[in-house]
Amino acid sequence: MSGSSWTRVRAVARRHAFVLLRSPHRLFDVVLWPLVDVLLFGSLGVFVARQGSGGSIAFGYLLSGIVLWHVVYQAQIALSTGFLEETWSRNLLNLMVTPLREVEYACGVALFGMVKLVMGVGVVALTALGFYAFNVGRLGVGLIPIIAVLLVVGWVIALFVIALVLRFGTGAEALAWGILFVVMPLSGVFYPVAALPGFLRPLATALPTTHAFAAGRSLIDGHGMQWGQLGLATGSTVVAGLAALAFLVLMLGTFRRRGSGAWHAPGPH
């Protein structure tokens, strides 16, 4: 990346830092919802653990699951709402007529998204430790590659969402939040995919998150890293990432051909 490219990436990241600072309600995503999630799944875990055999395993699955899920959630929400912010503030055309490249824009939003991710996941991990004495760090260094895969998966989902918004307009923006409610149960965040109805399992197996969470549960169970699952997670993430990029480039071309770049101009027609 050239010096000027890096400057543009920083400019975008800085712009989104100001958005967060001046929009306290945006802190809900990185503070309040993580806190509520830990309370919900932590308390559920405690209740299940008190019911007898196997309960303590469920407790670990629930809390490690919600901590790791927030990696996907924060990465996805930061990138997709970062883009949506430009449509809400009608800044898209301003940016489109500068030297800023699409990839630089995405990097800038993702860069600041990392800050939000650290905040959000930090809140989840510390709340789990403080309220339920669950230390996600005890899973060891094996967490690092799992978190890396989940981070990229979050970005990949965001690229799909952005592409759909480019194609269908702001009507598709509900997907920024809604799509995760579909991915979450299919990914076996809190349970093995064997618990899903049979007809959904092939779909679940195709998701990179499913294999990443399976690798995480193996760490919880004390069986060490399942490299096969991690490899499947990484491979399918790469495939999904390439598909997302191709889809995004296609939708960006459609966006420009349809004249949608003139959003909020007084009508190019």
């Binding site: 400057t7 001046r22 055309l93 007529v97 051909r257 190019p268």
Partner: protein, 249 residues
Amino acid sequence: MLDAHQLVKHFKGVRAVDGVDLVVRPGERVSLLGPNGAGKTTTLLMMLGAILPDSGWVRVAGHPLPKERSQAMGEVGFAAGYLPLPERLRVREFLHMFGQLYGVESLRDRIGTALERFGIAHLAGRLGTELSSGQRTLVGVVKATLHRPRLLVLDEPTASLDPDVARRVRAGLSELCDSEGTALLLTSHNMAEVERLCERVVFLSAGRVVADGRPASVASRFGRSDLEGVFLHLAEERPAGAQQTDRTA
């Protein structure tokens, strides 16, 4: 500086731009005029790479669009009266962001100078939401000129400004173009403004170039005393018939 060849664009079956050719030379001041719906904004946005033409091509400072869009846009400044400022940024922060996107050096000084040029240094600490529409337009013009572009593209730059502020904008633009040799391409519905600022006008009607030349010669070609008369004539009689050009005038 800008070379657009046979631009065509359809929207929902309507031929919004119909074979527009336009060349803007370095330092030249050109106005793109025409009634509402003539295709001015679509033409401008195609020249900026924000909209892809159905056919035809555009080169900005020798860079073909969309292939070398990033390099091309480094040479262009764009402002439009209808573009808002991002709400959660102060004016200084907004200009700083765009200055970085254009790779401007000594940014703090440059922002100060640019704000002074248009008489709005006192707005530097204000949030976008605290500005009037006229003030937002002025900040947009400052943003467009911050990196000393070789081509300045302005879409209705004075549409929401009172006459005094509009005069200040024209003075600032004239000074900038004179001192930096910046080429200017603007749209406006204010014909008097165009006659003061631009040495050449291009009239569009129904997506086609119907006149191109010096303001006085274009007016006389249509048998009118000024551009206002030409504008009203085209608004009443569009679509115009055969193209009329006056490049040699």
